[in-house]
Each structure stands twice: as C-alpha cells, then as structure tokens.
Symmetry: none
Subunit: 155 residues, 2 copies
DNA sequence: CGGGATATCATGGGAGCTTATGGGCGTCAA
DNA sequence: TTGACGCCCATAAGCTCCCATGATATCCCG
C-alpha cells in the first residue's frame, strides 16, 4: 500500500527531533523521495505533509490561474512561503521548527495522522478535540439526512 | 530542488548587512546566477528578488499591455528604472539599501519568503499581517468553491 | 507449539560541520 | 579625511552524521 494510513504519537527529544513513523517513511521512500514537504493547513492547527509531489500538485493548480491576478499570487504565497522542506536525517527523524510549532501548538509530542495522499502533524490534545468536532458534525449530517428522507416520504 | 521555498527571518548588523538564507543562496548558485536583482513589488511593501529571469517575467507582463497606453510606460519605468542589483559578499550577505528600507519599512530584521521562481524581502511584522490577509482570502475562495458545487448539484 | 535469536523501531547523546552574526582592517572615491 | 564598501577572521548556536540502548515485533528451528 502506498498511501498514508493510521496514526501514531511520537516524542520530541532534547534536540527538537522527532521520528517520522516508519510506515510513513517507507511510503515516501517508495515514491523515490528522501525529503518531506510541509504546509500550514488553511483553517486548522495542523501541518499537511507529503513528498515533494505534494508541491507539484499545488503548482499545477496555480498554473491554471492567470499569473497576473491576485489569486495566483495568494496561492503562490501560501504554497511556497507558508511551507517548508523537512529533511529526514539518517534515522528517519525531522526537526520540529518554530515554523511548525507556531501554527500547530506542538511542544513536546507530535501526533502523525495518515490522510491518504499526505499525512498531518498535530499537537495530540488538539487532535483529540478536533476529532470530537468532526464526529459531531458527521452525526449531525446523518441525522439531517434521515430527517430529510422522512419528510420526503410524508409528502 | 531548485525553487525558493519556506521563509526565514535574519537580523541586520551594524553595517547594514543581512545574511541571505543559505538555502536561497544555493538555489541562486545552482541556477548559475552571481548577482541578484531586486524590484519593488507592485502593490505590497515587499521586494521581489531573483536572477535576471525575474526581469523576463515582468517584461512579459508589460508585453500584454497596450504599448500606447500610459500603463505600459509606467511599468517599463518601474521595472527598468526602479530596481537595483544586490551584490552578495563572500559570506552570502547583502547590504540593505535605503531604496529597500523605504519601500518595505525594513529596519532591523528582514523576513525572506520563498516564492518559487523568486523570493521576497519583508519587514517581519508586515509579513505577518499580509499572511493573515492571504489566508483569509484563500479560505473564502474555498468556501465559495464549495457553495458553487452545492448549487450546481441542486440544479 | 514454544522459546530464543534476529530485525525493526523509537529514542538518547557525542562529535564535527555549517550557518548566522559580529567586528577588524584596507581601499577607493567623494 | 571620512564614510561606504569589500575582504578576512572569530565565535556561538544550530544542524547532520554516527553510534548506542532498550523495547517490541518477527522469524526460525527444535
């Protein structure tokens, strides 16, 4: 399987390093990459992380915009300026920069969450809270759907 | 990777010098440039910095304007007359001229921001404010796209 | 089936290189 | 002469490479 699946929590050591879960590393490696690319997620305190191909996908998206309009500029600013390469050392660890800490609130532990084509880095407690919210939204959605079906049947 | 990515904040010393981030320097070198060219960004308090190819990009933009209109003339003046060379010293530092300080508000620290084919120099606090605005615009764009899809599905 | 050997993995720390930053000194031009 | 600038060196902090350890999972063979 060459997708990012499941999750794990790892500890940051005294030098600010953290091990990327071995499974995630092997996915990146199988695609032929040695580096990771991290992007600040738009509306949640998490980093979206993937191989450099993640960057390529975004750049393809930018390419369809008119390069002289503000939207293209915004997208480039976000992708190139609000992201950074994470160099994997020989033991498969990355250093957690202030850039990451600021956006995520990560301090001493990192929660890695597989998301298919990429994975995310979270502060564990925030991830838990976010998970609650997501579940609540999904429950509500399902109830809503059930009610709609009832209403449609009564007509 | 030969693109300008991620960001860093460096301090200006007593002589008015500032180190260009090592990663950016290596990109410049890999592209075969020895000098940097800096332009005042059009509608933001930042410098656009890159190799000579940066000029090509701006000239391309001018080319789409009608040469008889004032806009083209303004832009040409801006690109060819209102830019400056930045010489890298042996330690990879540039001196921050008044030309740059005036347009950006840079005083004691410089934020370098990768933008793919070029990079930008910002006053750190202004960069933060600008980043917020960009993220807000992109969030709005995403919501808009989601609504459009819903509307299309309802037809 | 069981238990020891082996491999894998997260984590800790030492050593050396790279980078950012500060400052001295000579040169050239206003 | 003075101030801006280029060249050189020094230093401290940060980062990368390398090795060690313990815990866990996997394998293999009796």
């Amino acid at each position: 399987m060459d997708r990012f699946l499941s999750s794990a929590v790892n500890r940051i050591d005294a030098k600010g390093r953290v091990s990327v879960p071995a499974h995630f590393r092997s996915v990146v490696q199988r695609r032929g990459f040695t580096d990771l690319y991290a992007l600040r997620a738009l509306d949640i305190p998490a980093m979206d992380v993937g191989g450099p191909d993640l960057l390529d996908r975004y750049e393809e998206r930018i390419a369809v915009e008119d390069p002289f309009l503000q939207t293209a500029d915004d997208m480039s600013f976000f992708v190139h300026g609000d992201g950074s390469f994470l160099k994997l050392d020989q033991d498969g660890r990355i250093t957690v920069s202030d850039f990451i800490r600021e956006h995520t609130g990560i301090a001493s532990e990192v929660a890695f969450v597989g998301r298919g084509l990429f994975f995310q880095m979270w502060e564990p407690e925030r991830l838990r809270a976010h998970g609650e919210q997501v579940r609540a939204r999904l429950r509500k959605l399902r109830q809503q759907a059930a009610q709609d079906r009832l209403a449609a049947g009564a007509e």
